[in-house]
Amino acid sequence: MILLLRAEWMRFIRHRPNLIILALALLLLLAAAVSSGLEAARQRREAAEKTAHWEGRLEALAMKLPARSEGESAAAARATFDFARNEAPPALRPALGGLALGVRQFAALPSDVRVSVDSRHLDGRKSDVISNPLLHSVGMPDFSVVVALLVPLVVIGLGYGLVQEARENGTWRLVCTQSPAPWKVPVASCIVRFMAVFAMVFIASLVAFGLDPGASLTAFLCWTLVSGVFCLIWFLVVALSCGLRISAAASALGLLAIWLFTTFAVPPVLSALAEAAEPMPSRLDAMIKVRKAQLDAEAQEEGLLKAWYAGNPEHRPASIGKHAWPVSFMPRYEKQDSVIVPLMAEFDRKRARQASFIERFAWLSPGLAIVMTGDRLAGADAQRYARYAEAVDRFEARWCEFFVPRIMSYRGLSREDLVDLPKFESIEAESVLGVMPLMASAFGIALVLLYLASRARRLVATP
């Protein structure tokens, strides 16, 4: 087998089109790696700057606050309301060690939410992302997406018709008569090509991770393993196609059809199935419910205000009897948010459940599976986003708990209060557990294909 591998290697590198395909693919992968790595570094820098900027701003704001509470006043309530509405620390969604794999997917969803004491969900400015939809509709090439699209094409380009061509030019008959195990020849060809393609992906991944200062070794190792299995799966598909008694051209077209089907047709089908299994609530219905909650809370304004002071007698102001905005609005916000927050959280939860559903079947589309693994390693997966959204909601609840009494009591905020200012508790640190099911199913598919390929040996052995 070693001799065969050596011979196949020589045949491979002496065939100029192979080298051209590899060089072009490496160039494209490197371009994607550099672009993704640099973008990941930029995003991490921006996130750090946001935190630093807020800390600087907090220091400046603190200087404007009285050292201690100066008693009840409408101005103190208003200033505290403005602080609570506009000056919350950025609740950042931390990226994981594999950010370079899915940097654009990470940026597609909010990663910097500003909590508030009024209804945050009504205001797109506090969380929504600004991006050009045209670029998304053309296709934004995350590194994992480029790998998912390009690698199968390279594998097909290098490996299609390995046996069929030999059959067409008559050399396969010779191989069959000369060798007791003719299947070893295409296997050796596939091994040589696999090594070349995997090396190419490895080098590009190394560049992508190397350019991202927050990259982690764990994420890199997981990605290396998964991308290796991904290459293996496509080579096994190519190897299986060697057993078919069709022309080399038909084999190429057939393999491309498989690539098109698994890459472009399977993901929307899985999405549709996920939607059927975990139907997403209607955004439009939610919008109407939100408006109803606003109207109801507004109609009950006076009652809510009374109830609030009745429930919190220690914060009832001694010197102020008639309440106006913003004080009169605080119980309204609380009431309407009791409807709006769970309504909005349901979208993130459903999205996460749909993603989990798709992940279970993702290896029906190896391209989708490797992209979802990339998302997991980048911290851009839907499940993690849902946990982040929950953490933001918890933080917002603490933020309101801290500020609402100070606004309602007209005592306002003083410098000494800032020590207890709520901080956003980031979501859990990196764990590879999330990618384990995807990795396990990848190995499973590879093993099934390996078994089928071993069974197809007899088909190859005929001239």
């Binding site: 654009r104 050009n132 090439p141």
Partner: protein, 470 residues
């Protein structure tokens, strides 16, 4: 020549591969269109219902301060183009609901793509994608061996022996494959235009559909010419197939995505924090020469007192807060306009980069053309947003003018003198999308590039015919 074309057409008709691939792609195209059409209809119905409910809520707000009523706001919805089922364009990546409130201009929210965990990671699987990406593969599959296999089997030499000219031979191949592709396209477009024309109450959809059909015909022609030319230049069928597949991958998948990445890196968009805080800063600190908010307010108050000949705002015969709001909101509108225009300019610059990149990819030129003709591109959405913004300003100005006329001096915000009659008196938002002519005009640059591609492919075909080896 006519005989040759007839013979080639007959060969295509008798080719099992052509029928299998053609029927497969047609079925795929119609299925994807059917699903998209039904989904779009469902979404349209839901939007109409939501729009009606939102308006009912607006109309029945009850008694409240007019400005608080205005702050409850209204929703308007970007209508989906009838051809969005064919090419949804940017639609999935941009929400359809726009919330309108006083003082501030908002952006469209609730994009469908953000709610779907894996939407559009590779591409949107749409009828337009089938024609832009998969149809060329079909052409490659049918055309790669057109000339080279005749050479390999020796029939080319025989034909030359019968005094068939090289040019006639190559052109007959081109015309036969073009005719087959055009027939498939014409059938596909006729079938999708029937339900659309049935529903549409204007010729606009038909005109757009016809233009799209013609553009796709030209696009398919580029690949037919490339396939035949490469087949003529290649030494073996395998070489032709390898070259054509590489070209297909490059033109259809690599260049468009690479261009999107370059556009994103070259023209940076502001982060939301930067964008909104710049608007806030310019409003509060004022645009150059205007003075800050306090100075502008003081200046306006003085002018107001002088105009009405009173000493205090409390003595004004009109609602002081409402009049002040009219002034401040007009300024806020100006500031918003400046920043939104700048944002849209950046979008346009990114689009220009994509357009330039389409000199290297007819697929990208076709994608841009298709979105524009289907009415699902940036320009159509920008047109809607501008119309909605004009409506927002008009409604808020009307409410403030009503408030100014129905109150005096500094009237408390807790006074509830606005009522349902006021809310109901606000006209409904009506929107007329740009006509097909305007879409065609904005598609002209991309169409021009597509025409250049067609010319280049034809030139290559001519060169291939001249240099055809036996």
């Amino acid at each position: 020549m006519r005989l040759l074309v007839r013979k080639e057409l007959l060969a295509v008709m008798r080719d099992g591969r052509a029928w299998t691939l053609g029927v497969a792609i047609l079925v795929l195209f119609l299925s994807v269109f059917g699903i998209a059409h039904l989904e779009l209809e469902r979404a349209r119905k839901a939007e109409r219902a939501a729009e009606a409910s939102a308006r009912e809520q607006w109309d029945a707000q009850g008694d409240k301060h007019p400005h608080r009523g205005a702050h409850f706001g209204m929703y308007v919805f970007a209508p989906d183009s009838p051809l969005a089922a064919f090419d949804p364009g940017i639609g999935r990546f941009l929400g359809n609901a726009l919330w309108m409130e006083p003082h501030k201009r908002n952006m469209l929210r609730f994009s469908r793509a953000n709610d779907a965990p894996v939407a559009g990671r590779f591409s949107q699987f749409t009828p337009s994608f089938v024609l832009t990406s998969i149809l060329p593969l079909l052409v490659v599959g049918l055309g790669f061996g057109a000339v080279v296999q005749e050479r390999e089997s020796g029939t080319l030499r025989m034909l030359r022996g019968l005094a068939v000219r090289k040019q006639e031979f190559v052109w007959s191949k081109f015309m036969a494959l073009s005719a087959a592709t055009a027939s498939a396209l014409a059938l596909a477009f006729s079938l999708i235009m029937i339900p659309l024309a049935w529903q549409a109450d204007s010729l606009d959809v038909l005109v757009r559909g016809a233009l799209l059909g013609l553009a796709f015909l030209g696009y398919a022609g580029v690949f037919v010419a490339l396939a035949i030319a490469v087949s003529a230049f290649s030494a073996t069928a395998r070489q032709a197939l390898l070259i054509l597949l590489s070209v297909w991958i490059l033109l259809v998948f690599i260049v468009p995505r690479g261009a999107a990445a370059i556009a994103e890196q070259t023209v940076r968009l502001p982060t939301p924090a930067e964008f909104w805080s710049a608007i806030k800063r310019d409003y509060e600190q004022g645009l150059p020469g205007d003075g800050d908010l306090a100075t502008r307010g003081k200046r306006f108050d003085e002018e107001l007192l002088r105009r009405y000949g009173v000493q205090r705002l409390e003595d004004l015969p009109v609602g002081a807060y409402a009049v002040r709001r009219l002034e401040r909101d007009a300024y806020a509108d100006r500031v918003h306009q400046l920043h939104f225009d700048e944002l849209w300019r950046r979008f346009a610059r990114q689009e220009a980069i994509l357009r330039s990149a389409s000199f290297f990819s007819p697929a990208l030129a076709m994608q841009l053309t298709s979105m524009k003709l289907a009415g699902t591109d940036l320009q159509h959405r920008g047109h809607f947003e501008e119309a909605a913004e004009a409506y927002r300003r008009r409604i808020n100005t009307r409410i403030d003018e009503w408030d100014a006329a129905h109150s005096r001096g500094l009237r408390s915000f807790d006074d509830k003198y606005g009522n349902d009659a006021l809310w109901q008196s606000m006209d409904r938002f009506t929107y007329e999308p740009p006509p097909a002519g305007s879409a065609l005009l904005s598609a002209m640059p991309a169409l021009g590039i597509l025409a250049l591609w067609a010319a280049a492919a034809m030139s290559l075909l001519v060169a291939a015919a001249w240099r055809l080896r036996l």
